[in-house]
C-alpha cells in the first residue's frame, strides 16, 4: 500500500488481469488487462461485438470467466456469488433500463437500500427515517424528487435510466458500472446525466460503456478502446482519437 504522497500511483480499486472468457471456442474477452483508480471515470468504447458488455458481465458475476483474475479491493471476484459481489461494493446498471415497473419510484429506490437483504431481514424490514432520508437525498440527485409516488413504469425512458442509476447510488457502491446510461436520452437529458456522473464519481470509481462521443468527452478521465475482446488503445480522449489503429477500426467509420 502507498501513502497519499501525491506522486506515487495509488493501488487501483479494480485490477482486471489476463481476463478471458470463451463461448464455444469464441473468445469474447481475450487476455484483458484493466486497472481503475479511485475517483476515476473510465469509459470503455469499441465497435459492436468488441466485448464491452461482456466485461461488465464478468466483473459483476453474471458471466463466469474462463481464465484470469478480477481483483476488487484485493478481493477476487471471479469466484464470488453475484449478490456477494454487490455487497462487496460493485453496482451495475443494465443496458436497457431495468426497474420495477409495478412499484413506485420510492419503492424502487428503497429496494436497493442495503438493509434487509436476507429473507427474514426483508420480512421484518422497517421503513426507518434513515431510509426515507436516504431515498429523498438520492431522488434529489437523480432529478426525481417530485415523482417519488409515481409508478415507475409510467416514467419517461430517460427518467427510468436515472432511476436505475439512483438505485445503484442507494447501495453507495465503490465501483459503479453503467452500460450505455444515455441511450435514448434527449440532448438536455444527456447534459444533465453528464453533470450527474461528474457529481457522483466523487469518492468512488465509475466504469461506463458508451457510444455517444460527445457524452464520452464530457465525462471521461480516461478512455479504453476494446476491439475483438482485447484492449486496442487506452489513454485520454484526445490521444485515443488520434490513434491510427482506433481510427481504422472504430472512429473512422
Amino acid at each position: 500500500m502507498t501513502t497519499a504522497s501525491g506522486f506515487q500511483m495509488p493501488k487501483p480499486v479494480l485490477a482486471v488481469e489476463g481476463l478471458t472468457v470463451s463461448f464455444d471456442g469464441f473468445k469474447a474477452v481475450d487476455d484483458l488487462n484493466l486497472y481503475i483508480d479511485r475517483n476515476e471515470v473510465r469509459v470503455v468504447i469499441g465497435p459492436n461485438g468488441a466485448g464491452k458488455t461482456t466485461v461488465l458481465d464478468l466483473i459483476c458475476g453474471k458471466t463466469r470467466a474462463t481464465g484470469g483474475s478480477i481483483q476488487f479491493n484485493n478481493r477476487e471476484l471471479t469466484r464470488m456469488n453475484e449478490y456477494d459481489i454487490v455487497r462487496a461494493g460493485v453496482g451495475r446498471k443494465f443496458q436497457t433500463p431495468s426497474i420495477y415497473d409495478n412499484l413506485s419510484v420510492f419503492e424502487n429506490l428503497e429496494m436497493s437500500f442495503p438493509k434487509g437483504r436476507t429473507v427474514f431481514g426483508a420480512l421484518f424490514f422497517k421503513r426507518s427515517q434513515q431510509v426515507v432520508d436516504r431515498v429523498n437525498e438520492v431522488a434529489a440527485d437523480i432529478f426525481l424528487a417530485d415523482l417519488l409516488q409515481q409508478q415507475a413504469g409510467l416514467l419517461s425512458h430517460g427518467q427510468k435510466q436515472w432511476l436505475e442509476i439512483g438505485m445503484l447510488l442507494m447501495q453507495d457502491p465503490e465501483l459503479l458500472m453503467l452500460d450505455e446510461p444515455v441511450a435514448g436520452m434527449s440532448v438536455s437529458e444527456r447534459a444533465q446525466t453528464a453533470d450527474l456522473l461528474n457529481r457522483i464519481s466523487q469518492g468512488r470509481s465509475v466504469l461506463v460503456i458508451e457510444h455517444d462521443m460527445e457524452f464520452v468527452k464530457s465525462i471521461a478521465h480516461k478512455v479504453t478502446v476494446l476491439h475483438q475482446g482485447k484492449v486496442l488503445a487506452e489513454g485520454s480522449m484526445e490521444s485515443v482519437q488520434k490513434n491510427p489503429k482506433v481510427i481504422e477500426v472504430y472512429l473512422g467509420h
Partner: protein
C-alpha cells in the same frame, strides 16, 4: 396503528377479511345442515392450498403444479396418527397381528414399520404435519432455484414429483394403504371425530386456521419481502444485482405455500376421515391451481372464494351431470386465462366496486357540487388506487 393498517391493506382490506370471516364463521354454520357444512369444511381445506398458491404463483411467479404433494403429506402425517389410534390391540384383535393398522395385516406385515413408530406421539405428529412437507419443499426449492430452474421447467418438475409420490404411495401398499389410502379414522386423542358435534368443532378450527394463514400471507405481502417478490417477477436480474440472493426468497415463499397446503391436508384428514393418493397426484394439484386462478391469483381472499365456488360447482354438477363436470372445469380454466386473468377478485376490482359506488351515488345526486365529498364522485372510477389519490389531491 399504521402498521396494522398496512397489514390489513387499509379499510378495504379489513372489510374484506371481516366479510369472509363472517361468512365462514357465522353464515355457513347457521344456514347449512351438518352434512353440507362438513362439505364446506372440506372445500376450505383446499383453500389453504389456494392461498399458498397466491403467494408463490401470483406474487412469486412460481407456478407449482404439485401442491397436492404437500397437501397429501400433511394429510398422511395426520392420518397415520389417527390410524394408529384406531388400531389399538383391542379393536384389531381379529387380525393375525393385532395392534397394527388393518391394511398392514392384509399385506402380511407382522410388525409396525419404523416409519410409523413416531406417529404414536401426537406432538410429533403436529410437528411432522408441517415439517415433513416444508423440508421437502426446502430440498426441492433449494435444488431447483439455486440452479435457476424456473418458469415452465419448474412446473414440469413439480408435476413429475406429484406423479412420483403417487406411484410411490400406491406401490408401497403395506406401508401406506396403497390406492385405498388410510381409511377408517375414528378418534383424535380419544375424541370421536365422526359425530356432528366433533365435525362442527373441527370446522371452526379449520376456519380459524385458514384465517390465520391469510393473515400470515397478508403480513408477508405487506413486508418488504412482498415487494421483493413483485420486483423479482418484474426484473429478476435487477434484484439479483441489487445484492439479493433471489433463490432464497423463492425457496422461502415456496416453503410457506407448502406449509399452508400441509395444514389443509391435515385438516382434510380430520374432517373427512381418510387420506388417499387421489389427493396427491397431478389432477388434484392442477385442480388446486384452478381454484386459485378462478378466485384470483393476486388475491388471498379471492383464492378462498375460488375454492368454495369451484368445489361447490364440482359437487353440484357431479351430482347432476357427472360426465359434464371435467369439460366444464376445463372450459372454466380456459375462460379464466383468456377473459379474466385476475379471476373473481379482478372482476370485483373492475366491475363490482363500480357497481357498489353506483348504488351509493344514486340517493345523493347533487353531491357533485359539494367539494366536501369528493370520494363519492371519484369512487365511480374502477380501482381503489385512483380513489385514494384523488382524495389526496382534493384541496
Amino acid at each position: 396503528m399504521n402498521a396494522l393498517d398496512k397489514l390489513m391493506g387499509g379499510r378495504q382490506g379489513v372489510i374484506g377479511l371481516l366479510i369472509l370471516a363472517g361468512l365462514i364463521l357465522v353464515v355457513f354454520p347457521l344456514t347449512l345442515d351438518a352434512f353440507r357444512l362438513n362439505m364446506v369444511g372440506k372445500y376450505l381445506t383446499y383453500a389453504f392450498v389456494a392461498v399458498g398458491l397466491v403467494l408463490c404463483w401470483g406474487y412469486g411467479g412460481i407456478l407449482s403444479l404439485g401442491q397436492g404433494v404437500f397437501f397429501g403429506l400433511g394429510g398422511y402425517c395426520m392420518a397415520m396418527f389417527l390410524k394408529l389410534e384406531a388400531s389399538d390391540p383391542e379393536s384389531t384383535k381379529i387380525q393375525s397381528t393385532p395392534g397394527i393398522p388393518d391394511f398392514m395385516d392384509w399385506n402380511q406385515i407382522t410388525e409396525l414399520p419404523t416409519l410409523w413408530v413416531p406417529f404414536h406421539s401426537f406432538s410429533f405428529t403436529l410437528v411432522a404435519v408441517i415439517a415433513v412437507p416444508v423440508i421437502l419443499a426446502l430440498v426441492i426449492g433449494a435444488a431447483l432455484f439455486k440452479r435457476r430452474v424456473g418458469d415452465v421447467y419448474f412446473s414440469i418438475v413439480t408435476q413429475a414429483i406429484a406423479l412420483i409420490l403417487t406411484v410411490l404411495i400406491i406401490g408401497q401398499q403395506g406401508l401406506t394403504g396403497g390406492v385405498n389410502g388410510i381409511t377408517d379414522l375414528k378418534t383424535l386423542l380419544g375424541w370421536d371425530i365422526r359425530g356432528d358435534g366433533a365435525k362442527l368443532a373441527l370446522y371452526f378450527i379449520n376456519a380459524v386456521l385458514l384465517l390465520g394463514c391469510i393473515l400470515i400471507g397478508k403480513f408477508i405481502l405487506a413486508s418488504k419481502l412482498g415487494r421483493l417478490l413483485m420486483a423479482m417477477r418484474d426484473k429478476e436480474e435487477r434484484v439479483r444485482f441489487s445484492g439479493y440472493d433471489v433463490a432464497s426468497f423463492k425457496v422461502f415463499v415456496y416453503c410457506v405455500a407448502a406449509g399452508f397446503s400441509a395444514i389443509g391436508g391435515a385438516m382434510f384428514a380430520l374432517q373427512v376421515g381418510f387420506m388417499s393418493p387421489s389427493f396427491v397426484g397431478i389432477v388434484p394439484s392442477i385442480e388446486m391451481v384452478i381454484f386459485a386462478a378462478v378466485g384470483g391469483r393476486m388475491s388471498l381472499l379471492g383464492a378462498v372464494y375460488g375454492s368454495l365456488l369451484v368445489n361447490y360447482g364440482k359437487t353440484y354438477f357431479s351430482e347432476s351431470f357427472p360426465e359434464l363436470w371435467l369439460y366444464l372445469m376445463g372450459g372454466l380454466f380456459i375462460a379464466v386465462v383468456m377473459y379474466f386473468p385476475n379471476g373473481l377478485a379482478g372482476l370485483w376490482e373492475s366491475h363490482g366496486r363500480k357497481w357498489l359506488a353506483g348504488l351509493k351515488r344514486e340517493p345523493v345526486p347533487t353531491v357533485v357540487h359539494t367539494p366536501a365529498k369528493p370520494a363519492v364522485v371519484t369512487a365511480a372510477k374502477p380501482d381503489s388506487a385512483s380513489v385514494n389519490s384523488s382524495l389526496e389531491i382534493q384541496p
